[in-house]
Symmetry: C2
Subunit: 573 residues, 2 copies
């Protein structure tokens, strides 16, 4: 008999379970970083030294709009839990596991509008799943048998490794692309990857791509998509096009859905499958709503049956039925969300430019693809991971190393999210670490940058002068906080105290009924125009202490800053 519990456990589970436990090929860093960010999360008050998560593609920029909608629509039929009809509909077995017809209808309408009317989606070709993750896995199951291969234009989303290999046991083969030609997917690279796999005795069943690209943040042109479509047609393959970032294209490039090009005889529609979901476009990954869209009736039949393992609760669907029915709100939301993404990207790209970093001028998604290696003298995968580890463990920033995305230029690129609240300053930190490393002869020396230093340095860099007459007082635990809380409760959220020779600005971040953090900014000496123009830096400094739970106050804080800014300008002129 066995004596060691662990031995017994190991001996008796399936080989495929051991693979799931032990094997995160090539993407260890991605999940290690994620785990670190989860187990030691940054919090302005509770854990200011914690890890800031820039490795998770989540957009919280417009959650306030959705929150408003839910607040004002809490009486919508689907949310009225006291209504017995609805409760019974919510509690009972659903008629189908692949999504209520009315929900699929509304999703189709939503996508039709989102896609600019260029295509018309049919709810009967749609299978709703527990997030896009599950839709991808189901497609992998349906299109390939264990050991078969998908070709994936690299750099690609590290999560595909788990999505595809874990349960469906399909292998991924990267199709390399290069910065020198803008990371284009070429026919030559596709052919090469295909031939390599075939020569190893593998069956290549599909090309899997994200469009717009994650992590590049780029859209694909009609020509690019045509190259891929022609390739899969001629090689007797499928194309899985993950369009989860359709609806998050904030730049000037055009998004072309693969659905626009699916026309026989050029391509057999049976070969093309689209992934979509609400996690990115609405910023609600916690709702776990994804879908697969296919023209292939066999794939649809199998997928519908497989949703018994991955169905979306009726309650979730009912709530989203209410939301998707409000097309007026959705139009406003989508437009405002893109504006906010634009603004955020403008800020971040400006910072990256200032730092002299190379980056892809992204037009879609919530992340940027930054060449941090070049300035930091990093040229190998090992050096990249060393720098990545330093960022994670010393600076408390989790980004995604290019190697986890199978980037074909090892040691150069990293992906970092820019849509979380703390992201802007973190990006500065990231930039400045790179500057720091590049400035230093020995990159291993003095790697620790206090979190406040970068701003001082940005200041110095942008003004080319001394540190201005600014004092930052953090009184988060002072007795004065009680007064601030009272004034907030009385409706005076942000107060400006003009004085004779100083200007004080207090920023407060609130939870439900307690203050999460406050900061008093005091500018000594009568303000000069130059100081006022520098205020955005303070603003970004404030963001530094700003955590997820206080997001809704960001806009108020910004408004107060604008007021302060105007007041200062008027008092100077």
């Amino acid at each position: 008999m066995h004596t060691q519990d662990e031995d017994v456990a190991t001996a008796h589970v399936a080989k495929r379970a051991l693979a799931v436990v032990n094997d995160d090929k090539h993407v260890e860093a991605y999940y290690m970083g994620w785990h670190e960010a989860q187990s030691n999360p940054y919090d302005a008050v509770q854990n200011p030294g914690g890890c800031i998560q820039l490795g998770l593609s989540e957009n919280t920029l417009s959650l306030d709009l959705l929150d408003d909608w839910f607040s004002t629509h809490s009486t919508a039929p689907a949310l009225e839990l006291e209504n017995v009809l609805n409760f019974k509909a919510i509690a009972g077995y659903p008629d189908v596991y692949h999504g209520l017809l009315i929900f699929r209808n509304l999703m189709a309408n939503f996508m039709n509008e989102l896609y600019g009317g260029a295509v018309s989606f049919d709810p009967e070709k749609m299978v709703i799943t527990t997030g896009a993750t599950s839709a991808i896995e189901i497609l992998a199951f349906c299109l390939a048998d264990p050991g078969d291969v998908f070709l994936v234009p690299a750099p690609y989303y590290p999560g595909f490794e788990r999505d595809i290999r874990f349960r469906s046991q399909v292998d991924l083969v990267p199709v390399p692309s290069f910065s020198s030609d803008g990371f284009a997917v070429t026919r030559a690279a596709l052919e090469q990857a295909f031939e390599d796999a075939v020569s190893r005795g593998r069956k290549v069943k599909a090309v899997l791509m994200t469009s717009p690209s994650n992590p590049l943040g780029m859209t694909y042109s009609r020509d690019q998509l045509s190259v891929i479509l022609d390739f899969i047609g001629q090689k007797d393959m499928h194309l899985i096009c993950d369009e989860i970032y359709a609806g998050s294209v904030f730049g000037t490039t055009e998004f072309i859905s693969i659905a626009e090009l699916v026309m026989p005889p050029r391509v057999d529609p049976n070969r093309v499958h689209i992934i979509y979901g609400l996690s990115k476009v609405l910023g609600i990954p916690g709702f776990r709503v994804g879908l697969l869209y296919s023209w292939n009736s066999l794939v649809l039949d199998a997928a519908k049956k497989l949703t018994r393992f991955s169905s979306v609760p009726t309650l979730t669907q009912q709530i989203l039925i209410s939301l998707l029915s409000d097309t007026h709100f959705l139009r406003l939301f989508l437009s405002e969300n893109l504006k906010r993404l634009q603004q955020r990207w403008r800020l971040v790209s400006h910072g990256l430019q200032e730092a002299g970093l190379e980056f892809v001028n992204c037009t879609a998604g919530f992340f940027c693809w930054v060449n941090i290696g070049k300035v930091a003298s990093v040229q190998t995968k090992e050096q990249e991971l060393e720098l990545w580890s330093k960022l994670l463990h010393v600076e408390g920033l989790n980004v995604t190393p290019g190697s986890a995305c199978q980037c074909s230029e090892p040691g150069l690129w990293m992906s970092a999210q820019f849509t979380l609240s703390a992201a802007e300053l973190a990006h500065d930190n990231l930039s400045l670490l790179a500057l720091d490393l590049s400035a230093s002869d020995d990159p291993t020396q003095d790697p620790t940058l206090p979190r406040t230093q970068p701003f001082v340095r940005v200041w110095q860099k942008s003004t080319d002068g001394p540190i201005p007459l600014v004092r930052v007082n953090c009184h988060s635990s002072s007795t004065g906080d009680a007064e601030i809380i009272d004034s907030i409760k009385a409706g005076k959220k942000f107060e400006l105290f003009p004085g004779n020779d100083s200007f004080t600005c207090t920023f407060v971040w609130m939870g439900t009924d307690r203050m999460l953090a406050s900061q008093h900014f005091v500018i000594y000496s009568p303000p000069k125009k130059q100081d006022v123009l520098m205020m955005p830096f303070y603003c970004r400094l404030c963001l530094w202490t700003f955590d997820h739970t206080g997001f809704d106050l960001y806009n108020n804080a910004t408004k107060s800053y604008v007021q302060a800014h105007n007041w200062l300008l008027s008092s100077i002129s």
Copy 2:
């Protein structure tokens, strides 16, 4: 190039996808019946000739209690969507996919109490999934590789075929049991099934069982469980014990969790895995909340990772956190639900006895295992399916044929649910069809029984006299309905009109704001005691027109009947 779309579709999908589409081994009838019940659902008003679903194990008997709770707790923190903190918590990525720690804690507490304190569940050994279906599939994936075998005591839940074969490609081998010894699982039958599988070159990895049993509705004794535990230990196997009906034991037999017996050295805890969920105990399958519980750290590690495909939305968890925190309510709910199950089973078993049908005296679950074949001269699987098809297509009743449960006595047994609203009368119908068939020399002759006839016959059988002086007037489209609606809106839901020589009782079933159905019952001649005592039959006749959407009014209707009953009794005496 290919010309036929269908050919291309077939040629290019994975073998396993084709298997999912085409292969429902042995359980075609189960899913065919389900499909029929879905596509042509019975509705008292809209579709009175539709199919009544008795093949789905759903308990709606106590939904009114949960509905009340949700109505009075709509201000619970988790439901306050206007609260920005909660909305953000609901919208964002969850920290873990396998269930929030607080939710797992509450589930553990709930189960500890439900199991009578006999075991203590550890939230760290718990993995929350999209329904128990998904938990079963994940366990199959983790414990066996494709082509391996699970032994399953038969008769068993037909859904296991899809749960286990579909994605994990593990085969199920029935372990036969017989009515002659109360369907006991014997060591001899386990050994035989094991040897047979091994001789066919298969690896037998686990025994999979439901405890309490679905479809038998029986609990297992400590001795029975020990036989199985000893067997899996000696054969180097796992045990998956699906305890989803724990908490639905309404009879006098004791439920013993397998967790009570998991103690080394008798059995290595690494080999035992429990399935649970809220679909049955709370009657909320639409919430899609299941779990697996394991002592095996490798299984837990793999399962946690696999929940990326089958996670429960944060919103669902938050709502259930509120519910599970209200232990006072839950105690009342569980106790009342068992009472209602008892009452319902008393009625149904009484009807079955009257009809002279053999059945298992079930003490758990929502279904009964009825020997319909004996009286209906059905002795083969083919005859069983013929009778089943007649019930489905002529009588509009979907039950589960024994052969879909791999019953080792083909042609004899059927499983039928008794917890749906329309179930009681449907059972009468079922019983009487059997009587009808057994009375006829040629069972294929005159198979059509009008739906009203059975009640007349039950009446005749129980009174052994003529049909009483009862007239049933259905005025569902008369102008009088408007008045009834008005009186309901005014709060007078059920009116009794005592008259000189007649008694009128009006029953109304309401949707949100419109009447679904109404019936006026007029009893002519001064009521005699005998007539009054017959009233339960009218009550059951009313149930006939009672559909799912009007369930909440059942209790009110019953109360009115009791009032009428008392009034009549007092006027006679």
